[in-house]
């Protein structure tokens, strides 16, 4: 195992984040605080409790996941797209680094960034609303798995993308709508029967429901299904990345 290379990639990626600390951390925190002010305080005070949880607290897991998923995708996709764009990917390809080592280096960096942002949002939220975490270990595990799986997905997007515009297509057109419609701001039990069934085809529902279960101990779908859905999604991403490197898709001529 070329541990020097994994560490080099990780440190290099993290130093990029530290150099752009304001964009990397402050902006997602500020936008989340705005969500809390609007949905939590202004509108939330007029909303009924959902399963004995105040609306302000109820939206915390969804908000964390919304930011974490989008940040994971954008961090990971940019980290691999940029070397592709400027051509320094050739150095990675000509180095004695296996694909696994390469992916570990980039994904660990992306996961560290989005986990940090997720935890900062949680801490920020704790100042604004009452939060009690019923299953803290599960909360950390689900958060971690979400970061890993969406970072892997971001890595795929970064390799697939042929322009900076394409990097934003997947998060803007697919992930954001799925997270919003996946119950970030409401319980799917509030939907009419038909839409409840339709919404079960949205994989993000399982993620948010599982994460909310870790916070409040109750969920829209059975926690086992949530864990299974996250694992299936993670392995699907790993499989795609393995295929990408096996065939050299869009990285090797």
């Amino acid at each position: 195992m070329n541990l020097y290379a994994i560490k080099a990639i990780y440190v290099f990626e993290m130093s990029r984040t530290l150099r752009t600390l304001i964009q990397s951390i402050a902006s997602p925190v500020i936008s989340t605080v705005l969500y809390f002010i609007v949905f939590g305080s202004a509108i939330g005070s007029r909303m009924e409790d959902i399963s004995d949880v105040s609306y302000g607290s109820f939206i915390v897991p969804g908000l964390i996941l919304l930011t974490v998923c989008l940040q994971s995708i954008s961090n990971a996709s940019f980290s691999i797209y940029f070397p592709k764009f400027i051509g320094s990917i050739n150095e990675l390809l000509s180095a004695p680094v296996s694909y696994l080592e390469l992916v570990i280096g980039f994904i660990m960096a992306a996961v560290t960034k989005s986990m940090t942002i997720g935890l900062i949002i949680l801490i920020t939220a704790s100042f604004l609303v009452d939060i009690e975490i019923k299953h803290p270990i599960w909360m950390i595990c689900i958060l971690f798995l979400s970061c890993v799986s969406f970072s892997l997905m971001g890595f795929i997007v970064g390799i697939w993308a042929r322009s900076f515009e394409q990097i934003t297509i997947i998060p803007d057109l697919i992930i954001t709508p799925l997270v919003f419609l996946g119950g970030s701001f409401y319980s799917i039990s509030l939907l009419p029967d038909f839409w409840q069934k339709v919404t079960l085809f949205n994989p993000i529902v399982y993620l948010i429901s599982g994460f909310r279960w870790a916070f409040f101990g109750n969920a829209d779908v059975y926690i086992g299904y949530s864990i299974l859905a996250i694992l299936v999604f993670t392995f699907a991403c790993i499989l795609i990345i393995w295929r990408i490197f096996k065939t050299g898709y869009r990285i090797k001529s």
Partner: protein, 306 residues
């Protein structure tokens, strides 16, 4: 003893769009030599380097570096190779020393600041070590990509058009550096458009055209074999070369008082000696003799245009 450090056998590369970039390449690279790969644009030079270094997938054939297959034992082979790419591809906002350290680590080596300092000093980059890449001139950036390629102490160095677009001073510096590296035992494979560069520093020349190796020879032998001399003999009076024509390969000069002789420059060819004797016997005085050697560039053009 001359030992092959790279062995390329029956290497072919066809791109997905059907373009055949390399056709059945066979080439051995000798440990410690400087070999220049010459060829026009699109000849396949960069593709050949990319295939050895792992940037391009190989369609068929085998390449081994120091006895290890470049696909099966890629970690071993790549650790031995340093690559200076044609395009300058650097992370613009990083510091010089950081990008060089990064390359060393990427190639599986622990940090060694003393060695990095040695390289940066050698490339006149030490006082720029804390500058960001974006602040450097084009020539300095080129030095940085060389420093990156040397950061892990490679045994083999690929230089893909290292002096393209650099000024004359930097080009001479590079040539000196390449010669020094060879003295230290590094094998150097150089692709270049500047034929004078190959003429100046290479031990062997390989000419590639249309994805095929047209010839590979020691530079000195190649120059001797194909590098014919043109000799211009200026006399004190006009001469009709018809009197010599049957015996020698001559043409009349512009002013009718000079003779142009095409000479093969081998030991067996004594025609110049015989011609001078005949001129003397004819009571002509020789005022001047100029020789014009056929350059590697002309040899290259002859080979490529065949």
């Amino acid at each position: 003893m001359n030992q092959n450090i790279i062995q390329i056998s029956h290497l072919s590369k066809t791109f997905k769009d059907g373009t055949v970039a390399l056709k059945d390449i066979n080439l051995n690279i000798i440990d410690g030599e400087i070999i220049a790969l010459l060829g026009p644009n699109g000849a396949g030079k960069t593709t050949l380097i990319s295939a050895i270094c792992g940037i391009t997938n190989i369609s068929s054939g085998e390449v081994s570096v120091s006895g290890h297959d470049v696909i099966k034992d890629y970690k071993k082979t790549r650790a031995l190779i340093g690559l200076v790419p044609q395009e300058i591809a650097l992370q613009p906002f990083e510091k010089v020393i950081d990008v060089v350290r990064y390359s060393r680590n990427l190639f599986g080596c622990a940090n060694d600041d003393a060695y990095i300092e040695k390289i940066l000093r050698r490339l006149l980059l030490w006082d720029k070590k804390d500058k960001r890449i974006v602040e450097l001139s084009g020539g300095m950036k080129r030095r940085v990509i060389i420093a990156k390629a040397l950061s892990h102490e490679p045994k083999i160095l690929f230089l893909d058009e290292p002096t393209a677009g650099v000024d004359v001073d930097l080009r001479f510096d590079m040539w000196e550096l390449i010669k020094k590296l060879r003295e230290d035992g590094t094998t150097i494979i150089l692709t270049t458009h500047y034929i004078e560069e190959a003429e100046e520093i290479a031990d062997r020349i390989s000419i590639i055209d249309n994805g095929k190796i047209q010839l590979t020879e020691k530079k000195s032998e190649l120059m001797q074999r194909l590098g014919k001399k043109v000799i211009n003999i200026k006399l004190d009076q006009e001469i009709d070369i018809k009197i010599f024509r049957d015996e020698f390969n001559l043409t009349q000069g512009h002013d009718k008082a000079s003779i142009i002789m095409h000479h093969s420059d081998t030991k067996k060819d004594d025609s110049l000696d015989r011609l001078i004797l005949k001129i003397k016997k004819g009571k002509y005085k020789i005022l001047n003799i100029e020789t014009d050697e056929k350059s590697l560039e002309q040899i290259f053009l002859d080979v490529v245009s065949k």
